[in-house]
Amino acid sequence: MIESLEISANQWQFLKNSEKYVEASQEKHVETSQDNARPLVLECTRRQFLTAEDILARLAGSHNQKPRKGILLADDVGLGKTTVAALIAWVFAGTGKRVRILAPNQVMKRRWAEELNLHISLLNQCATNLEVGAGQIKGKFKDKPNSKNVERLKGGQIQIATHSLATNGKKIATDLLIVDEAHRAKGENTRFSKGLKKIQKDAKRVLILTATPFSIQVAELARMLRLIGGGNEEKRSVESFSKAINDVYLGSTARDSTKVAERLTEKANLAVEKLRPFVIRHGIDDLPNEQTAFGQSKDWNIEIPHANPEELETMIRMDRISRISRNAGGQNSKNTNDPRYHVGWQHFDQETANLATQVVEGSVPEQAVFSSHLESIQRLRNFKSPHSKMKAVGTEVKSIVTKGEKVVLFCDHHATAQELTVYLNNVVPNYSRKDAPRLSVWKQAWKEVLTSAFAEDDFSDSLSEPFIGWLCSSLIRAQVWDWLSSPVEGAMELAAALKNRKVRGQAGENFEFVAGSATHLFRALRNSPSSESILKRAYKGIGSLPGNKYRVLGICENPDSQSNPSLILNNKSPDTAISIFNSPFGPDVLVVTDKMSEGIDLHRYCRHLIHYELDPSPIRTIQRNGRLRRVNSWASITKQPIKIAYPAFRGTRDYKLVQIMKKRMDSFSLLLGGVPDFDVDEVKGPQEKWRNEVICNAKNKLGGLGRKLNAKNPRNPDN
């Protein structure tokens, strides 16, 4: 028997009036130009409100529904799951209930706090029946990543904690437990998984936010369903659909594709039917009204020349020599055709050097062959020309940044990211506008701008001075000077220009003023403990904020000791660099690895994404794209498309990977994320062709399947 919530539908009446809420946000935006938030977009808010209303009605058992223990919200990335969950959290807290939110990490924890804070003034205006205030948000936001403190929650409070809260074994009674990215539980026996199982018993209701249902392991999905009250029937149906998906990707391809497609369709329909009461999901492509808000996605073709014979010979010789070494029991027992060899030379050259130090066991003939290949590789690599793919991508990147746009490039490997960062930094030109005011003028102008903006705030020297110093660095000065179209004289005139001119040389009401953007950035930095710490250290003369020297910035792990720390950050919590890239200032080119593909926004000033090196995982690729395709993206502000490029180095493994990935991504939404990772070397053309036939057959019958899980108006569920 599910305990009553004692929340009536009247208490979320405001959700029926998204227009009012959006209007309020727009008014607030005009009034307080300092606010970091862009005004809400009606189409998106309407859908988010409907989703929140549907979830609340199901949890509370309103409109003659049976109350449910929990709901799984599995919207595509970028649709604002956090917003929906924050609204629900406020309805609970606003009516005196206790809410606990489990975020995957500290960064996301702060993101939750921001989201909750964002709604306070709007709710106070539009939902006067709810008691909503900043004081209700609890959580230790300073850098204590492993904090396991169990807050004693009073009614009306919201605790934001990391997943680790679930693992401390203590009883944590709550009215609503929100688990963000619950699919990270990964396995029945992990501490988090066990902890979740335990604490959900102390929670009256559970809201789980997760990725596309079948992109996660089916066992995980089944476990999540059980957490929210699902039973064996649901478990069986998802397992059955998952098996049908696996059958397509792993089973015999000698069968009749039509029959396999029929089976897939049947299992998919059954699974969706069983999931409907428990799962709400929207696919980004199923929301035509909101496309303007996300930004239309457009294919971006970057022409890469075919690998030339020398490049291919170098790689093939490496493949050969690695195999000889492996067969002779050498150290190189891994992939002989390493994916990194196809997209850059850095790792290749390192491995060549390693192989050169190896003594190959085996007969004299084998040693002769080994040495011969090694010599040939060294001879071929003597011509230190940049990698062809990098060169072509570099030309395109150069063209993008010259037009005043930012671009993010994703790599699968750190070595590739490092090499790409260094290369792009060499080819991306510096800002060229001359006649900029002197440094002292800039300092004075920025001080004027920021002092007036933070007149009523705590604006200590230990934070502001390094920030102004950063704004006055050669790169940011040149960058901002480039945006200010006409000459200025003196600090006051410059300050006025900073206040009156829009960022990135744009004009129009949607764009922020330069001064406003700087204020937002400073606020964001100040709110992040790690950024605050960097500012304080900079004040003491130790280091500086990143992104003040080069137009290119790389973030990846373990850069080699010789790499330039101003160019490549080895930052385990890259909040600061991300905040800067998400502002109009600083680097225009960001090179990252998949560490940055989940849970981080990069969309606010960037609409160009290049998959320089793909991870062989369709979900990862989708997540990368989700960094830019989000509500209120730069694309939607500029009314320009989001451009996503999959450059492929023809003639190499890289090209093959891109071709397969494009096809698999096409079926991602159709199969509710059930598109498995693949080993590019194992995928055979004919088999993949057969799979595509199955998907194509199923597509005709499954076209609207995903939409069956969309939120419904609880007052009129049939509509």
């Binding site: 493949d319 002769a368 011969s372 003639g651 995928v683 055979k684």
Partner: protein, 662 residues
Amino acid sequence: MNKPTFGWHSLLDSKRPENSSLIQALFTTYDRPDSIFLAEQLLPKLLNLDRLPNVEGLERQYFLIGLDAKLKELHDKIVVISSFVRDEALNENPSDDRAYGWVWNSIRHLMVGHDRAAVQHAKLWMLHWQDEDRKGQWLEIVISSTNLTGPAFKSQLQAAWSCCVLLETRTSQQRLKSWGVLPSFLDELFSSAGGHPAQDSMRELLSRAECPKNVSFVASVPGKFSDKELQRQSWGCAGLSKIRPGGAGRVTTHILCPYIGAWDAATLKQWLETFGGSADCLNLAWIDKSHPWAKNWILPESTRNVLIESESKMLQIWHDSHTEGDTSRFHGDHEPADNRWSHAKIYGFRSARSKRLLITSANFSPSAWGASNGNGLIEIKNFELGVCIEQAEAEFWDCLDDFDEANHAIVKKLQPMIAKILQWGQAKWDGQVIEIQCRAKSQENLIGTIEISGSSNLVVEAWQHDSATGHISAIVDWVDQKKAPLHVRLQYETANVTETMIITVFDIRPSRQRDKCLPPLDVDPETAQRLMDELLFDKYGGAFPSEEACDLMGSEVSEETDLKSVAFNDDYSVAAFVFARQHLAVVDNWQRALKNDSDDPTTRKRILRDGERLIEAFKRQHERDKKTEIEQNEHGISIGSKLAIEELKLLLQTFSESKVHD
């Protein structure tokens, strides 16, 4: 229809271990060996060929090249010894030699009668096998009544015995002795055929294995032998004394043969006495006049009369033309409607409970078993070979009944034996000249025509007579290395007599020159070369191109389809890597083969030679790959072949006995 166990293909079944390969072989036959049968039926089985000969298009070309390659590998290791059959010109099928005459460039065909007249009538196969990992070797011996011709397999019922014995590493005289007359039979046979190294190697094989228990051999060799000589070496009927069943009393004899010679009472008595038999205990299985076999089975009336007069029994092999050819069955698997005629030669000897079954090539004739020539000597005209199995018996004799002598299928008399003018021949080509040798009673009226593959015939202009050997010989120039001579047609023609002898030409050039000759293919030379190269790659584990293309496409490829374009357009494979790994895998497998066979000099030499051939093949492949690169606008395809050449050269350089030819 025949059951599979009794169909003609069963005669090709081997007892060898799975995945074993042939090292050498000896076949003997009476009739001139049938090239088509050899090439399309026997050799594909023995040489593990996986392509089909009778399929149109590329498949057949692959088959021909595959067969040619295997035969070149086993050059002079397969020996066929036959008789010269005078009337072979009449049976000659011209398309036979045109299609497969080239196989005799690699298979040594010998004729008996090098020194004196002889008839080779034995049907012996000796097959030397080696298993896949080259750790074990076997000798398979087949003794039967089957000639190496298509009709012998497809239109005749045959009796056969076979065994497959494991070969020891070392030779032993004791083991050799266990084979009884067989080693001496081989000596005589090879000697009559003009000699060949296979004689020693076959003897050596026999000395590496024990003869199976309860088995002994009975052989005949042509010649005139005194009793003393026959006591020392029991040829012909003397051999029967060695296999007579034990126990006292007379030996009952059963005979099933399609050809019965001219026996008189005395000769018959003499033959029977050698093993303790008697005429009244002799049973001859025979047919009536209306039997379908009557046109093939021969019994002279005189012999029939001798048999009846000596109270021998004639037992009827029954046949009913009204009941779908129902006939007496030889055993349980023998289908009643079998329309093949029996060519089996089976003898059964019984004395009390002691039994012997003789499976042999020897018909019941004095030529086969020998008969007194009136000078106190026993004269045998034929090479015959049989195997005697102790305590074995044919079941069907008990089912046969006497029948009315008026119904006996008989002939009035046998065709008189006319002495042949042409008696023996052989020919070989060393790349410069074709050397022909023959034994003929007359040099006059002798015409020699040499058929050359893909070229017009040559005529032998001058014959030489060697008084020492009595041979007639000729030497004809022929230097075109790509067109090998196939055979020499010797024709002796007078107003009264016409005789034709076909002598195959054996290619004795070094292997590098031999490689230059291709079998006649229905494709242009460039394609032919490509197919040959592919088969060589295939030999060392290279992915077979058409299979690869099928795999890439996921469906069958028609011949008209452009394989390359399909492979490149509809696939995710990285072409340069696929090609490179495929080619370099060939190098790896070649190197592995060399390592595994480093102890065997012959095999090692062959593999090293293959290394050289691979370099040449990869050079050609490199050119083809470069062409593909241009056609498909796909770089890097040719890198793999380039690297394969580079590696092979390096590897070969380390072996002093091998030379790389650029």
